[in-house]
Subunit: 327 residues, 2 copies
């Protein structure tokens, strides 16, 4: 099934079930008022939501309305846990190589995860707020999974069963704030502003054979304006699987229901597929031309992140944002 959250003037919006073709939706707030509320009691809520979704497909649901992604908030407009991995180690290696920095060999064996905040997530068509273009605004196309409660110490094998939903992410990053923050030793903070999510979150079965329980084997299509910036295959070169990332996050603490675990920027070793973020393209610029030729985002620019199934249909709907300057 596919789930979305529509704006209703409240912080967590209202839960709807969306048709597989993303054309229609039906209220589900009688089952659970919000997606977080559904995730809090997922074993009870999921079968009832699935039943509603089947009724939407069959045309037998009541109160069906057109689904407008412009009215969608992030599926979880705010979440208690947002832990973002860097599972495509190739991306890290490339960016480091471009600035002549070594990457420890341990990065290939020990997952790199940063603690994000998700108190003010952006909807799929919300503008990307930018105070100052000099901050170096970048997009990062990613995949994320949503878990139920994961006990502390859950191993990789047991972690897979805790994956309940899959979404797309635009992990907006202010590149020119990254180096000074990393240098202070406490990780990212101001360099990670609000994160945007796809119009719908889907249960893994919606991915069919493209989901193997650990990775999504489809291309993530990232447009900058009208140009296809990159379309890396998300199942390839993902060194750490989602269950492995979850196990890493849960090593010393549980994950509460509704925890969001991100893949990090999707990236392939093959340069022909392009990149899912500007920083990677700039690293390739350096390696190819000895200089950076790709600029960060300017106000007014548009970013679109999407994933199509093998019949060319959008699975999650599109993250489709315009950079908007604010003062």
């Amino acid at each position: 099934m596919k789930l979305a959250t529509l704006r209703n003037g409240r912080p967590d919006g209202r839960l709807v079930v969306v048709s597989r073709d993303l054309a229609r939706c039906a209220a589900a707030d009688d089952i659970a008022p919000t997606l977080q509320a559904a995730l809090d009691v997922w074993d009870d809520a999921a079968p009832r939501l699935a039943e509603r979704a089947a009724a939407v497909e069959a045309g037998s649901a009541t109160g069906v309305e057109p689904f407008d992604p412009g009215l969608a908030m992030a599926p979880l407009p705010r979440a208690y846990q947002w832990a973002d991995g860097s599972a495509y180690v190739n991306h890290v290696a490339l960016v480091r190589k471009a600035r002549n920095a070594d990457m420890p060999d341990s990065f290939w064996h020990d997952p790199l995860v940063y603690q994000g905040a998700a108190d003010c997530n952006l909807g799929p068509m919300d503008p990307i707020p930018l105070a100052d273009p000099e901050l170096g605004c970048d997009f990062e196309g990613e995949i994320a999974v949503v878990t139920d409660r994961v006990p502390a110490g859950t191993d990789e094998e047991a972690a897979a069963a805790h994956i309940k939903l899959v979404m797309l992410v635009n992990d907006v990053t202010l590149r020119n704030l990254v180096a000074p923050e990393i240098g202070k030793g406490f990780g990212f903070f101001q360099s990670k502003p609000q994160t945007a999510f796809s119009p719908v979150a889907v249960t893994p079965d919606e991915l069919g054979d493209a989901w193997d329980g650990a990775r999504v084997h489809l291309r993530l299509r990232v447009h900058r304006g009208d140009v296809l910036f990159g379309a890396p295959e998300a199942g390839r070169d993902m060194v750490f699987s989602f269950p492995r990332l979850i196990s890493h996050v849960a090593r010393t603490r549980p994950i509460g229901p509704g925890g969001i675990i991100g893949s990090g920027t999707v990236s392939n070793a093959d340069p022909a597929v392009g990149a899912a973020c500007i920083a990677e393209r700039r690293a390739r610029d350096m390696l190819e031309f000895g200089e950076v030729r790709t600029l960060f985002l300017a106000p007014g620019e548009r970013v679109r992140i999407e994933m199509l199934n093998d019949r060319g249909h959008s699975i999650f709907g599109a993250i489709d944002q315009v950079v908007a300057r604010y003062v």
Copy 2:
């Protein structure tokens, strides 16, 4: 007023108003079911909660029951934002000096804040779960404030008005995981397990003259077992005030209602006051004796963190936890 959250089998518990002497409480879930719900509409909820609190003090409230901190969850059992500063720069300087590492001068001018997670906060008397004593389990006695919604770009002057509640914190840290994580460049992750909070959160007016709108001018009393481990004065040597920390957190993103902003380990330059965490005591061991003489926490050890007003009464109740090994 003083607010607490009592266990009721649900993730966010139920909101109660607690008497000033912490002896009694009255249900407030008719005003807002949870503290997060109250913070979501604070301007509406706060006057009604204050009225209930006045009725509890006057003995005119109905349904008053004894307040048992053993039944309390964290005031926010889960929160969308937990950003923890390192405002007592003396602490950072001391720990670095003990390991012969320089501290950049910028640390005195630019706040150091790490992004924490607060999806599974511990109640004041919950055990500290510890899988392996070799991880180097430490307590950190801190103060935290809770905000309403803070717009992105809020400056220090405007930030003060967003402080709605004050709490105490035990920011449990696994010291032996810190160095490898910092070395990876993405900040703390597994080294920061679940955080514990005081039985009640109080509005700043409960602090009287000890609150100047920016700092709490009282001693934070930290016991390890029966021994007073430290009692630093929280208003002294706090280089970055709470409004300054909030402004730092909100530089590139808003803070959602119910954001928790921590001070970092309370620490004074004067060694006579002791320390609010073991790491600082170990740093002083190194400087005084050339060797570490203070061990990290072992299973069965007890930690108590409390703050008394000028008449010797506990303001927040005590964080009072025992380390419990789990497998």
